[in-house]
Symmetry: C2
């Protein structure tokens, strides 16, 4: 391995130690026994010392009563002593010159305030002493590539070595991950369950793995992303390095408590922000442990992604072909029609009564002629419209009547699959274990990776296609999405909520098309403004903190003359007065035709990912469609355009029967401008919402806007008074 | 087994033969060898004869050169002779008194016209001779319950016996089903891959399994449902018998070519009709082979469904708990908060620092105290708000260091799980095989069924909950949905397309609220009608075959006086004349307020399932939401109500901000009336569409309607002229 350094910390001592001391080793602890066995079973080449103050023999081995008695300064101490003894143990280790520690002991921050205080002490001491600590309350780690496994839970054998590096925010799930990876014949380079992440965090280990030549894919189980800035930086490094990151991030069902305006807030769940953030970072999000490992295993076997979504499929089964077709549609994978030449060549291979189509069913005659599949595969993979090929096949589960013949046949297939014109993925029909025998066959003829089952396999293929596209786009574009700060040029403090007039003015100054708006404090001012615009006009209430004006009769449309304007002014202002509103101003605007389509463009601050853009159909559509395109800021115009294309309401924008098609480029430009204003306003912005943005052909105009500012500390104090 | 008789055919001879002759047995055929081996491996107690005209010894056994030479008349002939010899072979068998045949031979209908003719001959002969035939082009069958396995593909051993009966419309997938069932420790009673279904069809075998006491769950892989009436009848019998049917029906991605009106047709894909039909029949539809077998296996272990959606979950892992919570939300399963009593009792069991919540994570201390899980389970299962319990646990994969202790522990758990206050399902974290060792542990301590992995397990649990509800509803209600025929009382032939006037009149006569409509052939008739309604009015073109009137300027709204009506009449009729329309009539209607919500209510004829109702939001919503509730006719008012509740647009109907809530009971009543009219019109109806049905509070009124009639044979002939 290389010698990566994180913030000046040398991770080699931690993850690639040449000697380990197990402190608190005891026959009474299953963790101690597991750790010792794991290290021994991996045939660790360095020295392992057991330290126990009282017993002379533990796990059948001689012990040392203190670290000081060891014949050398170890690279790593693996700490299993009681909670209260951890800090003294670390002090002792540092005194001896130790640079790295794994703390398996629990009872710290996860148990409450008292534990948290102890944990803080440990962190402070370790930082001050240059000691790198993994844990506490973790499992340790498995450096499979180097055969170093100081790890406290049983490791099912054989431990398969490969290039997937796992970082998990769950100790118990690590066993399931190991088990499933083994059954799918997915080898790992590294695995750790983080524990409390008091010093080393997920992102630190991710960065180690980005730099680790033994790792080609990083697989994550995440409960929370603690440092999104760091996470994004490392995700970008990984994408540039061509190392896919696949993540199972839980909490899909939670709707976060996000201070937001009603409409945009309702559209932007935590989950959609995570989806957006991950997609924008090139991190592939999956929804199950099975998908995590299958996707990671596939991409490790491919050395990255797939070149495109068009697959050519060869199967021995019509039923399986149809399941594949259904799942391909679900997953956005394409099954192009074979070219005339491909079709012609396939007809020469398959039986007369076979139907030549994609997926290809070579028919049950494969029982008689075992070469049907591989000969068909070679032809399919040469079709110009095929980005990759899929062969529905699997490893044997148990030895058949003639194992040698089977081995020869698998060997022939393996050679054929490895030499197809496009990448070929071998896919089994259902998700069952690769058995020991299957693995031995695979190893002896160097058979390619077998993706586990059509159901999850199609998801994994789709993930590999998506990542491939993201990777190519990043390498090709390296888009610059830097944003200019937006100055606040007019005489109002950015606090509380800015309604229509101020918000609209700010947006208009920054180049967002906003309907002309005149402030009117008296009925006559309103009439004057109306005359200037020409009738009909709209009159609306202006009041601080008043979000939904229409709910309290604060919006009057279609005013056709001075009397109507005066009436409207009176009724709106008296409604405001009744509500006890501090101000009683109104705004007058020209009445716009409602022939266009109402859009909603909002930006809200996500507590983890920061300012996040949501675009969707506005008006009543918001609640009915509950459909918004979400992107974490900053964004490119292309990001916005893609997001809009993905809306469920896109049919309407493209001109459903009777409506004028929207100029999507113009819309994307406007939304991008709004996004840049929001990003440029920076930390003070809490939320910004345009509802509606009226869109008619290529004409976009904001008819109403709101901005909420982040409370300053003083303002927050005031709230609590 | 019982002695079920399907249309006078005794299936005992076929599926429970006491003697079998393999005709065309030869060492050259893998199918012959497989079949022979399978029968021997199952220790079939009857006689097996090999018939081969030329070789004296096949598969190491003595052969007979003809059926006539056998010492007895066999119950079943298993036919593997060349295609052209099949018919003579059957003749010979019938001459000998044989009553049942499995035809493995292919080359029939599946290969084209010539093969089809041969197949037809075989069917005609068999019917005439009282011979029951399974196949041709099938695999044979596996009667696991009775140990009778005349089956042409290898059967992975051990063949696990249980109560799931499989009927598959795919030969090749049968091997995957067998493999996956074995790895999940799901035992089967019966399995057959149907082949060409020339005589015995899927529904025949389903009925056999409904009557088979060894079968408690029926699992189907379907490419097509050939006889929907029969399918529905048997599904109903199965539901009443308490035997769940689980089906993987492929072709989800296909959009059928259905003669339909534009709007409703676009909303009702083949797939949604299948979903609706299955749901209404109580058939649980799944999307993967894994889900098919996991759901069937779970329900076989439960002996039916689950009592409700509220689950109490006990796990040893916080991470797993969170994945379960996410998946529960996906699947509509509920995680009720534990009662104060439950919480109190759990606190006494789990470590101090554990958080007591649902799902419960007993923490890693389970490594020290293995009783934590089962003690917690007992408490959770006694919570009043819990319908069933889930224990996250699994069988061991390989023997541990102390197998006896493990066995004792699993035995204790098994006892505990079997005695919980509510049903308990054991669920593993990931989907891996139950190994041979795991199965032996399970068998020796009678450990409950282990559901395979959280991802698919939650789907299976949800399916069992859904089926339980359907089963209870059927037993409780036994709803009568008989429909009265609707007479056609007025002087127009039900042919072609009936637009607004005729369609509206028909619906109004049957009690559907339709906007008053007067036919006007001259401008003055239009003015007279308008005066009667009172202004404003609407004037619309009437012309046969004119679907979308508004596209050609055939609709004029908001006519406020006689001149406007005359103008409108002139422009509409000249538009019609320009189009070369045969008639130039118009209708006049009072102008309705558009304050309500436009709904679309349509009925279309599905080629498989017949008349199918679709209800959704109308107007522009149709294309944007693409959201319709679909039900196969006939329906109850409750069916309709449930369907409407499931619409994505339900927020709007329930009164999204600013709109009047719709009286859903009134809406359901109106839709039910429309559905009954459609069902009552019977075979002649091709499609019926009301668009819009204007709904305002409890007021529903059809503003426009279309009816398309099924072309008679003469009309079809005419089209081709």
């Amino acid at each position: 391995m290389t010698n990566p350094t994180i913030e000046g910390i040398d991770l080699r001592a931690l993850f690639e130690p040449r000697s380990i001391a197990l402190i608190g080793a005891t026959d009474k602890s299953p963790w101690s026994l597991n750790t010792f066995r794991n290290i021994k079973d991996s045939e660790f080449e360095g020295n392992v010392y057991l330290v126990n103050r009282r017993s002379a023999v533990v796990h059948g081995e001689k012990t040392y009563s203190a670290l000081a008695e060891l014949p050398e300064v170890v690279d790593l101490v693996f700490v299993m002593v009681p909670t209260t003894v951890v800090l003294p143990t670390l002090r002792d280790a540092v005194d001896q010159g130790v640079r790295a520690a794994v703390i398996l002991t629990s009872g710290f921050g996860e148990t409450g305030q008292e534990g948290k205080a102890l944990e803080d002490e440990i962190v402070a001491f370790s930082r001050a002493s240059g000691l790198t600590v993994l844990g506490p309350n973790g499992n340790g780690f498995i450096n499979a590539a180097e055969g170093i496994t100081p790890y406290g839970l049983p490791i099912g054998r054989p431990l398969l070595t490969g290039s997937v590096g796992f970082v998990l925010q769950s100790g118990a799930l690590a066993s399931s991950v190991l088990q499933f990876a083994q059954t799918r014949n997915v080898g790992l380079s590294f695995l750790t369950a983080m524990g409390n992440e008091s010093m080393m965090s997920v992102t630190d280990v991710m960065e180690y793995l980005v730099d680790d030549p033994a790792t080609s894919v990083i697989a994550l189980f995440l409960e929370s992303v603690r440092d999104p800035v760091e996470f994004r930086r490392i995700a970008h490094r990984a994408l540039q390095a061509g190392k896919p990151i696949v993540a199972l991030k839980i909490g899909r069902s939670a709707l976060g408590a996000r201070a937001a305006l009603a409409h945009t807030g309702a559209l932007v769940g935590d989950n959609s922000v995570i989806d957006a953030a991950f997609e924008q970072m090139g991190v592939i999000r999956v929804r199950s442990l099975e998908d995590l490992i299958l996707t990671a295993g596939l991409m490790a076997s491919l050395g990255g992604g797939l070149p495109g979504p068009r697959m050519g499929v060869v199967t021995p089964s019509g039923g399986a072909s149809e399941i594949i077709a259904d799942r391909a549609e679900d997953e956005g994978l394409q099954l192009p029609t074979f070219s005339a030449d491909t079709t012609h060549r396939l007809h020469e291979i398959v039986p007369d009564f076979a139907t030549v189509q994609n997926p290809l069913d070579v028919t049950g005659y494969v029982v008689i002629d075992r070469t049907l599949m591989r000969r068909s595969l070679a032809v399919v993979a040469e079709d110009d419209d095929v980005d990759f090929a899929v062969l529905l096949s699997e490893l044997p589960r148990v030895p058949g009547p003639d194992p040698d013949a089977a081995l020869t046949a698998y060997g022939e297939s393996a050679k054929n699959i490895r030499t197809t014109a496009v990448p070929t993925v071998v896919l089994s029909t259902v998700l069952t274990d690769v058995t020991d025998y299957g693995r031995s066959v695979s190893n002896s003829v160097d058979f390619p990776h077998v993706l586990g089952g059509i159901e999850h396999g199609m998801t994994a293929l789709s993930n590999a296609v998506r990542w491939g596209a993201l990777h190519r786009a990043t390498v090709a574009e390296n888009a610059d999405v830097a944003v200019d700060p937006v100055p606040l040029t007019f005489d109002r403090e950015p606090t509380g909520m800015w309604t229509e007039y101020s918000a609209g003015r700010l947006l208009a100054e920054q180049g967002v098309p906003v309907v002309p708006t005149t402030l009117a404090s008296t009925a006559e001012e309103a009439v004057t403004a109306a005359a200037e615009f020409g009738y009909p006009v709209v009159l609306k209430a202006v009041a601080d903190g008043l979000g939904h004006k229409s709910d309290i009769g604060g919006v009057r449309l279609n005013l056709h003359g001075p009397d109507a304007v005066r009436d409207a002014f009176d009724s709106v202002t008296s409604a405001l007065t009744e509500l006890g509103s501090r101000g009683v101003a109104t705004v007058v605007q020209p009445q716009r035709s409602m022939d266009g389509i109402e859009m909603l463009v909002g930006v809200v601050r996500d507590p983890v990912w920061g300012l996040t853009l949501a675009v969707g159909l506005g008006g009543v559509w918001v609640e009915v469609l509950a459909d918004a395109a979400v992107k974490v800021l900053p964004v490119t115009e292309n990001d916005v355009r893609q997001a809009i294309e993905g809306l469920r309401g896109i049919t309407l924008l493209k001109g459903a029967r009777g409506t004028t098609p929207v100029d999507l480029d113009a819309l994307a430009r406007t939304v991008k401008t709004v996004a840049d204003v929001a990003a440029g306003l920076g930390d003070r912005l809490q939320a910004l919402e345009i509802n509606p943005l009226m869109v008619n052909g290529s004409h976009c105009e904001a008819l109403d806007a709101l901005i909420t500012w982040t409370a300053t500390d003083e303002e927050k104090d005031e709230e609590f008074r």
